[in-house]
Amino acid sequence: MENNTLAQEAPKGTIPTPSLETKTAKPQSRFWMLFLALFILGIFFLGGTYYFVSSQKATYIPAQINNETIDTQKDVIQLEGEAAALDIQDVDSDFTQVDAELKNL
């Protein structure tokens, strides 16, 4: 009844303005609204974090390989081994004898 007092008292032709009490929600409902807003924000935050983390991970998509490719791979690895096994020594070791002879000269 009290809420309608102002509306009743307003002069004709003017729009009645609601009282201050009607604008503010009850403290209990305000808590739930805040809770809901934070909950939604939390969901968005978690979702965003999950998306970010998962997008940073390198995706491993194994190439489709057939037996022929596997054989070629084996051959190439074998060639790599052959190249690594090449005996490319430094030349210094060859000069030990000549250095000894030079000392005695």
């Binding site: 791979q73 004898q97 030079l102």
Partner: protein
């Protein structure tokens, strides 16, 4: 273009070989004549021995390098076959083929350089009996520098070969590469 350069280099080597042959003979004759005048025969023998060691080092080392280059050549040819096979399968072999070509050129050029080094003679220029030690040390240093430079070239060639192998591995979908 590269083949032309290699042919030019080969021709230049042939020309140089012919002109230096006479010089070598003269140098060897002077060396022997100087050595014969040595009062200390033991010293003369040692100089002779050192001179022989110089030649042995050069021929042994260049022989090892030639063998290695021959192996590299064999590997690169096999690799080329594999890449050609992959090209037939429809793979983009541009990078691998380029790396193989670079390695092949490197091997060919290094082979020529090694061949030239093998033909070099390290005959000492003896100034006098007293300074023969310095003469020998100078010759030792020259041989060491030449072989060291050649060794660096061979290592670089091997790296080119490794690069070609790596490119082929990428082509084969080796995901471990470059991690």
């Amino acid at each position: 273009m590269i083949k032309e350069k290699i042919t030019e280099k080969k021709d230049a080597i042939k020309e140089r070989r012919e002109t230096t042959q006479q010089e070598r003979k003269e140098k060897l004759a002077t060396y022997k004549k100087r050595l014969a005048t040595f009062k200390d025969t033991v010293k003369a023998e040692r100089v002779e021995r050192i001179s022989t060691i110089f030649q042995t080092i050069n021929s042994k080392r260049t022989s090892i390098m030639s063998t290695n280059l021959e192996r590299m050549r064999s590997i690169i040819l096999k690799l080329e076959e594999k890449v050609a096979q992959l090209e037939k399968e429809g793979k983009d072999t541009t990078q691998a083929k380029q790396a193989i070509q670079e390695a092949k050129n490197g091997i060919e050029t290094t082979r020529i350089v090694v061949q030239t080094q093998a033909e070099k003679e390290y005959t000492m220029t003896i100034s006098s009996e007293n300074t023969v030690k310095t003469d020998a040390a100078t010759m030792r240093s020259a041989l060491h520098t030449d072989l060291q430079t050649l060794h660096t070239t061979v290592v670089a060639t091997r790296n080119q070969l490794s690069q070609a192998i790596s490119e082929t591995k990428i082509l084969l979908g080796d995901t471990k590469h470059g991690e």
